[in-house]
């Protein structure tokens, strides 16, 4: 028993020392944040270029269909009559319907083609602002009730705004210490194993992408935030990115965070930064 304790203590000490020696600083004050982030973007995107040399970088906005030819042909057939089309039309009607005070979404977002402005780090509020959060804040600023964040009318408005923004470049800035800290929180989330299955976002969307997990091929992590909200056949409805995050977390038996929680907003921020150089192409359709 005593020997076992000593062995355990020794292994614990060695593991801690090795891990500490190998671990770089996670957050650096007073650094060139854009350069640090650009290094991450380059490394992240290079991972996929190496894994899938036949896939054009620009095509990653199409998710798993950029790496799975058989699934792509089925998806392209589906896109001939996009299942999100009705939701976009409904979103347009909602967008153009005046609030009770006479204002409308256009008061906040003009013609709605503002997808590339989100997510961003708000220095005054010290937090990441996503498109869905901004939509609800537009409503409350005009005396309207907030909408639910995962599906329904908010997803439809977001889908319409994404639709009229198609082709806008993803180019998220991380230019301050506060923004970098939010980015690093999202990065930590992405790479941390969690849940009873001990699986991270990166395990499925980097390590396992291109391989089958049960009957499905996980999509590449590059380009994942470009096409939301998305109409999923499984949902038989449109859903937001944070709805998908929650579903992913539940699948690995982790307790999901609320949609628009700081955890998911920072994750969206990190993931969108990783897709800098691609374009927004939402809404999308998926299995």
């Amino acid at each position: 028993m005593f020997t076992t304790r000593i062995q355990l203590t020794l292994s614990l000490t060695v593991a801690t020392l090795v891990a500490s020696a190998c671990m770089p600083m996670s957050k650096k004050a007073g650094m060139d944040y854009p350069a640090l982030v650009q290094d991450d973007v380059t490394t992240f995107q290079a991972f996929f270029e190496k894994r899938f040399p036949d896939t054009e970088k620009a095509d990653y906005i199409n998710g798993v269909y950029s790496i799975d030819a058989d699934a792509r042909s089925q998806w392209e057939s589906l896109e001939e009559f996009p299942p999100y089309e009705l939701s976009v039309d409904q979103g347009k009607a909602l967008y153009e319907t005046p609030f009770a005070n006479g204002s409308s979404y256009a008061t906040c977002f003009g013609d709605g083609a503002v997808r590339s402005q989100y997510p961003y780090y708000d220095e005054d509020r010290a937090m990441v602002i996503t498109l869905e959060l901004a939509i609800n804040e537009c409503r409350t600023a005009n005396g309207e009730k907030v909408l639910k964040y995962k599906k329904g009318d908010l997803a439809k408005v977001s889908a319409y705004m994404s639709f009229v923004s198609r082709g806008q470049a993803i180019n998220v800035d991380v230019a301050s210490e506060g923004a970098y800290n939010a980015y690093m929180d999202g990065k930590e989330f992405f790479y941390s194993k969690r849940g009873q299955f001990n699986i991270s976002c990166a395990d499925c969307h980097m390590r396992a992408t291109g391989f089958y997990l049960r009957a499905d091929v996980p999509s590449p992590g590059l380009g994942q935030t470009s096409h939301f909200p998305t109409f999923r056949t499984k949902w038989d409805a449109l859903g937001t990115l944070h709805r998908r995050y929650g579903g992913c977390n539940e699948n690995i038996r982790a307790k999901a965070f609320p949609a628009q929680s700081p955890e998911y907003r920072n994750l969206e921020y990190f993931q969108t930064v990783m897709s800098n150089g691609l374009v927004f192409n939402g809404p999308g359709s998926r299995k």
Binding site: L8, T9, S11, L12, V14, A15, T16, V18, A19, C22, M23, P24, S26, F47, E188, Y191, S192, K193, R194, G195, Q196, N198, S200, A202, M206, R207, N249, E250, R253, A254, K255, A256, F257, E263
Partner: protein, 105 residues
């Protein structure tokens, strides 16, 4: 040749197992105490952002079993919840300190 990631993963796994073995076990002697310990441990896991999906359900089931007079079943369910929460907390602490070791190269 041993991959550095594999080596680090093994070390961290060893650390997890070592911690798991060294962590104090629940000391509850009845279902009511076990439920309270499970709730406290699960809250600790939630506080670091690593609560598992089903732990609360086990606790809720334990509470219901106890209310139905099924003391043994309640104790077993609460014990399962406690063990899940304990591992979730270990996982959370390990990830908070070592997540950068899991970035694929």
């Amino acid at each position: 040749m041993i991959n550095i990631n594999t080596l680090l993963s093994s070390l961290v796994l060893s650390l997890m197992l070592a911690l798991s073995g060294l962590a104090s076990a629940a000391e509850a002697t009845n279902a009511t105490q076990m439920i309270a310990e499970a709730e406290a441990m699960n809250q600790a896991a939630a506080d670091v952002g690593f609560e598992w999906r089903d732990t609360r359900s086990y606790i809720a089931d334990a509470v219901k079993a106890l209310a139905d007079g099924k003391e043994d079943q309640a104790y077993q369910l609460a014990s399962e919840a406690y063990e899940q929460a304990k591992l979730a907390l270990i996982q959370g602490k390990l990830m908070r300190e070592n997540w950068q070791q899991y970035i694929p190269l």
